[in-house]
Amino acid sequence: MTATVSDNKAAAGQAADHRSGKYLAFHLGNEEFGIQVMKVREIMGVQDITAVPHTPRHTKGVINLRGKVIPVIDLRLKFGLEEAPYTQRTCIIVVQVKGDHAPTLQMGIVVDGVSEVLNLTAADVEDTPDFGTGVETRGLLGMAKLKGKVKILLDIDHVLTAHDLSTLQAALR
C-alpha cells in the first residue's frame, strides 16, 4: 500500500509539467475547481434535461447537443455535496472524456457557475496532499494556489468514469 502511494506520488511529480496549461475554473458552492480546457467542448446554460429512470441520483438525465443525445451529470451530487436549485448562473459544461469502452464520449456536467480561464504554470500546481488511507485522490490532478485561493484541479476522465467517488468528498472538505 505504502509503495503504491509513493509510486503515485512519483508519477504525479513527473506529471507536474503536464499539469501546466489552461484550465477552466468553475465553482460548486464555495469550492473552486479547474478542468483542463482541452477537455471542454462548450459551455451552455441549463436547459430542459430529460430524466432517465433507474440511473444514479447524480445522473440528471440526457440533453440534445446538436443532434446527439448526451448524458448530464450533476457534479454536486456526484461529489456527494448538497443539491442546489439551478439558477441563471448554473451551467452545463460539455466535456470530452475517455470512457472505459468507447474511445471518447461527450458528457455534460452541471456546475454552479463558470468563472474564468486560468493559465497555470508548473510552479502554480502542487501535488494533492495525502489525506491518509481511504481517501480517493485519483480524480485529482493537483491543487493550484492563485491569489491565496486554492483551486482543485480535476482529472475529469477519472471523475466521470469512476463508479464510486464517495471517498473523494473527504478530500474536498
Partner: protein
C-alpha cells in the same frame, strides 16, 4: 542527390495523376533508376518497393485506380526521405508495408469487395458456364488480389490467387471447361481468402495474428484442375505461358518469378465493363451518422422557424411561400440522407444462393433458386443482421421442406426443387419471402409433438396458424433424424428472436404437398421508428407504434384491483394487467386516478398490457439515438429521440417496462 531521388518519385507520381492516358515508360524508367540506386546504397526495402510498384504497373491495366498502389508510392517517398536523411534504418526494416495498418486495412476492404463479386460471378457461371463476362470479371478480381497481396508480401494469398488466375486464364482461352469441380475449387479458394482476411483483420485489431493457414493443399488442387482438359484439339494447355520480359528482381527480394499470367492477354479494361455501371463512394459510418444528426437538427430548426409566432404575425404570402419551400427541401434532404444507409437486399440473396448450391449438392437434392426484387433497398444493419436467420430458414427448407428427388417424382413434381426468394416494398415495410415447393409443414406431426411436450393441452384445437408458429418454440424439432445441417431444434426460435430484434414479424403459410412460404415483414430502416408520443408529468415518452393495439380513457367499471396481483383492466372481455408508467419510472404524474388518465394497450412478446399515461401528444416519426455510454441497459428504455421542439424523449422498451411489472 536527394533532389534527384525526389524528382524520380515525382515523375512516377505524375503517372498516377495522368492515369492510363500516359505511357508507363517514364515511370518505369524512374522506378528502375530508383531500384538500381537503392540497390547500390544497400536500401533493400526501397529497391524492393520500387520493384513491386513497377511490376504492378506493368501487369495491371487499372493500376492508377488502385488505392494501395498510390499509398505504396507515398510509402516509397517517405522511405526515400528517411533514407536520404541518413536514417536508413527505417527503410531497411523488413516487410514494412505489411506492418502498415492503413495499407493492410485497404487491402482487406478491397479484397472483400472482390470476394463478394467473385462469389456472385461464380454462381452465375455455375448456372451458365458460357458466360464470358462473369469469367472475365472473376479473373480480373483474382488478378487484382494477387497483385495487391504480392505488393504487401502476403505470400500464401498471392500464391493461391496466382494459381486460380492461371486456371481461369485457361478457361478464358477455351482450354479448360468450367465444370462444377472447377467452380468448387475456386469457391474454396475464395473461402480461404475470406478466412485470411478475417485473420489479417484480427491482427489489425491487436489480436495475435497467428500464422497464415496452410495453403499448399489447396494450391495443389487448383493446379491439378488443368489436367483433365476437355478441349483436346487445342494447343497444350499444360505449357505455362511465357514469362514476361522483366528486369531481374533484386536478389534480396523474396518474391518468386513474375506471375505467369502477365503474358496472358490483358484483362478487359474498365471501359469494357457493363454500361450504366454505378459508381459509389465508401463513406465512414461515423460521418454518415453525423450527417443524419445534423439533418435531424436542421428539420427541427426549420420547424421552429416555421412555427415562430413573430413570423406568423407578418402574414406575408412571400414568407409563407419561402418557408414552405424550405420545409419541402428539408424533408427531401432528410430522405436522401436516410437513403444513404440503405443497400440493395441482393447481397443477402447472393449469400443464400451460395448456400443453396452447396447444400443441394451435399444433400443430393437438386434445387434451383429464383430471386426477385434484389434491388430493393433496405437498411444496411438489417441486411447484416438478417443474414443468419435467412440462412437458417433456407437450410431448413432444403433439409425438411424439400423431399428427396425420388419422392418428388413419385408425387408428380419436378425432380428439381424450386426455392424462391422475393423482396418487395409494402407500405413502409419490406416483405421478404422464402418459398419452397417441398412437402409443406406437417400439421399433425407438429401438433402431436407439441402435445407430447405439453405445449398444447389435450383438449385444445389450435388454428393452423398457431400450429405453424409452434416451430418457433425453443427446442422444437420434428425432424426424424438429426443431421449436421438441421434438426436439432435450435434455430427457428433464434430466427424469431432475431427478426423481433429487428422490429420485424415472421409469418408462415404452408400447404401440404405444395410447399411452405416464410414471410418476413421488416421495417425499412432501424434508424427511424414510428412512435406514439405520450406524456407523464413533465416528461414525454415514445411508445413504438408497432406494439400499440389501441388507446382509450378507462371508465371506473373497467378497473379492478386483485389483491397481490396488482391492477387489472377489462378490455374487450380480456383482463389485462395495468402498468403505471409514472410508478415504473418514478416521475410525478399529473394524475394518479386511473379514470382520469389514458391507457395504451401494448403488446410485447405475445403478452398484452395496459400502459397508464397522462396524455397523448401525437404520432411522430423519430430518429432513434443511443443514450450513450453507461446508459445502454436501462430497463424499460430502448433509446432516445429528439422531439419536434429539440428536447429529448425516451423511447420505451415495452418488454422492459412490462418485464419489471412481472417482478414487482
Amino acid at each position: 542527390m536527394r533532389r534527384e531521388w525526389e524528382a524520380r518519385i515525382d515523375s512516377v507520381a505524375a503517372q498516377f495523376v495522368l492515369g492510363e492516358a500516359a505511357s508507363v515508360g517514364p515511370a518505369a524508367e524512374a522506378l528502375a533508376w530508383i531500384r538500381q540506386e537503392a540497390g547500390r546504397e544497400g536500401w533493400d526495402e526501397i529497391s524492393r518497393l520500387a520493384a513491386r510498384i513497377a511490376e504492378r504497373m506493368a501487369t495491371s491495366p487499372q493500376w492508377h485506380t488502385e488505392g494501395a498502389l498510390a499509398e505504396g508510392l507515398d510509402k516509397l517517398r517517405r522511405a526515400v526521405e528517411a533514407a536520404t536523411a541518413g536514417d536508413a534504418a527505417v527503410a531497411r526494416k523488413p516487410n514494412e508495408l505489411a506492418q502498415d495498418p492503413g495499407l493492410v486495412n485497404d487491402f482487406i476492404l478491397e479484397t472483400r469487395d472482390h470476394l463478394t463479386s467473385i462469389e456472385n460471378d461464380l454462381l452465375t457461371l455455375d448456372r451458365e458456364p458460357s458466360q464470358p463476362e462473369a469469367l472475365h470479371s472473376i479473373f480480373r478480381s483474382f488478378h487484382t488480389v494477387k497483385g495487391l497481396a504480392g505488393f504487401l508480401e502476403f505470400d500464401s494469398i498471392r500464391a493461391l490467387a496466382h494459381e486460380v488466375e492461371t486456371i481461369l486464364d485457361l478457361a478464358r482461352n477455351q482450354q479448360l471447361a468450367i465444370t462444377p469441380a472447377v467452380i468448387d475449387v475456386v469457391l474454396e479458394s475464395a473461402d480461404y481468402l475470406k478466412q485470411e482476411m478475417n485473420r489479417l483483420e484480427a491482427g489489425l485489431s491487436g489480436a495475435q495474428p497467428g500464422e497464415a493457414a496452410p495453403v499448399g493443399g489447396l494450391v495443389a488442387r487448383v493446379q491439378s484442375l488443368d489436367r483433365p482438359c476437355s478441349v483436346a484439339a487445342l494447343p497444350d494447355p499444360l505449357l505455362p505461358p511465357a514469362a514476361p520480359a522483366r528486369t531481374d528482381a533484386p536478389s534480396s527480394s523474396p518474391e518468386p518469378p513474375a506471375p505467369a499470367s502477365a503474358a496472358a492477354p490483358p484483362p478487359v479494361p474498365a471501359a469494357a465493363q457493363a454500361p450504366g455501371e454505378k459508381f459509389s463512394v465508401r463513406v465512414d459510418t461515423q460521418k454518415l451518422d453525423h450527417l443524419l444528426d445534423m439533418v435531424g437538427e436542421m428539420v427541427i430548426a426549420q420547424s421552429m422557424v416555421r412555427q415562430d409566432p413573430e413570423l406568423a404575425g407578418l402574414r406575408s404570402p412571400r414568407v409563407t411561400r419561402n418557408l414552405t419551400q424550405l420545409s419541402r427541401v428539408t424533408v427531401e434532404v432528410q430522405k436522401t440522407a436516410m437513403a444513404m444507409r440503405m443497400m440493395p437486399v441482393g447481397q443477402l440473396f447472393h449469400r443464400v444462393a451460395r448456400l443453396v448450391r452447396d447444400l443441394s449438392r451435399k444433400m443430393d437434392k437438386p434445387a434451383d433458386l429464383d430471386m426477385s426484387g434484389e434491388e430493393t433497398q433496405i437498411d444496411k444493419t438489417i441486411v447484416e443482421e438478417l443474414a443468419d436467420p435467412m440462412m437458417h430458414m433456407v437450410r431448413n427448407s432444403l433439409d425438411h421442406g424439400i423431399e428427396p428427388a425420388g419422392d418428388r417424382l413419385a408425387a408428380g413434381k419436378s425432380g428439381r426443387a424450386r426455392i424462391a426468394l422475393r423482396a418487395t416494398h409494402q407500405a413502409g415495410h419490406i416483405l421478404i419471402e422464402i418459398e419452397d415447393d417441398g412437402r409443406g409443414l406437417d400439421r399433425d406431426r407438429i401438433l402431436a409433438k407439441a402435445r407430447g411436450r405439453g405445449l398444447v393441452g389435450e383438449g385444445q384445437t389450435p388454428s393452423d396458424n398457431d400450429i405453424y408458429n409452434l416451430i418457433f418454440e425453443p427446442g422444437f424439432s420434428t425432424a426424424a433424424a438429426v443431421t449436421d445441417v438441421s434438426g436439432r431444434g435450435v434455430g427457428m426460435d433464434v430466427v424469431r428472436r432475431q427478426v423481433a430484434k429487428l422490429r420485424g414479424r415472421i409469418e408462415i403459410h404452408s400447404e401440404p404437398g405444395k410447399g411452405t412460404v416464410f414471410q418476413l415483414k421488416l421495417p425499412l430502416t432501424l434508424a427511424i421508428i414510428d412512435g406514439l408520443v405520450v406524456g407523464v408529468g413533465g416528461e414525454r415518452y415514445i411508445v413504438p407504434i408497432f406494439a400499440v393495439q389501441e388507446m382509450f380513457r378507462p371508465t371506473p367499471e373497467m378497473l379492478s384491483s386483485v389483491k397481490g396481483q396488482g391492477e387489472m383492466a377489462m378490455v374487450r372481455n380480456r383482463l389485462l394487467p395495468v402498468v403505471r408508467l409514472h410508478r415504473r419510472f418514478s416521475v410525478t404524474p399529473r394524475t394518479r386516478e386511473a379514470a382520469e388518465s389514458l391507457f395504451v394497450v401494448a403488446e410485447t412478446g405475445g403478452r398484452r398490457f395496459c400502459l397508464m399515461v397522462d396524455e397523448f401528444i401525437g404520432k411522430q416519426e423519430v430518429v432513434i439515438k443511443s443514450l450513450g455510454e453507461g446508459m445502454k441497459n436501462i430497463p424499460g428504455v430502448a433509446g432516445g429521440a429528439i422531439l419536434g421542439d429539440g428536447r429529448v424523449g425516451l423511447i420505451l422498451d415495452l418488454e422492459g417496462v412490462y418485464g419489471e411489472h412481472a417482478l414487482a
